[in-house]
């Protein structure tokens, strides 16, 4: 069964460092998302991507964040200068059209 895959499963980074989280969405999907969940809190929308551009982003997705789909298969989230409060589980998701989104297993980002 096709699935969304994310790498790495756990990333530890120093505050101020850049980090790139990687996702391979399901191959025929058209919409791509990043969500995050800070420990003990709810799942929060970060950004959606469609037709090679950002279609929507939340207040969390400030200038420190960027997304790319560099080669038609990978979908990456970059945090330019990480802060302690960026520590969270980051989930990538994809969907075909106006249906449910399928989520990856997540990347646990720990900023120290």
């Amino acid at each position: 069964e096709p699935e969304v895959t994310q790498t790495p499963s756990h990333q530890v980074t120093q505050m101020g460092q850049e980090v790139i989280l990687r996702c391979v969405p399901i191959s025929n999907h058209l919409y791509f998302y990043w969500y995050r969940q800070i420990l003990g809190q709810k799942v929060e929308f970060l950004v959606s991507f469609y037709n090679n551009e950002i279609s929507e982003k939340s207040e969390i997705f400030d200038d420190q964040f960027s997304v790319e789909r560099p080669d038609g298969s990978n979908f990456t989230l970059k945090i330019r200068s990480t802060k302690l409060e960026d520590s969270a589980m980051y989930f990538c998701a994809s969907k075909v059209d106006n249906t449910e989104a399928f989520f990856g297993q997540g990347t646990r980002l720990t900023v120290v």
Binding site: Q6, Y31, Y35, S48, Y50, E56, A101
Partner: protein, 113 residues
Amino acid sequence: DQQVKQNSPSLSVQEGRISILNCDYTNSMFDYFLWYKKYPAEGPTFLISISSIKDKNEDGRFTVFLNKSAKHLSLHIVPSQPGDSAVYFCAARARNYGQNFVFGPGTRLSVLP
């Protein structure tokens, strides 16, 4: 601004009984609702959805009911099994406000053997 609310942070149910998880929303533009299940250290897994043109959708042991006038939906699990123990998230999408999903805070369901 909590557009999707799940007012019960946790729920315990005996195995074999019915689990009812509730969700309320405030945005009348929401037209598509989903339930996701999440185990620790895993991503949310899609369970069942319902469009605003329906009031019920059933898939095996899972049934979702939608009451648009009350802006309320519920997930029924019958019969509940220990493997159903997880955090359940209600999510909603407003078609006219983009394609992202707004998640509720989740309800932790514990099914006791």
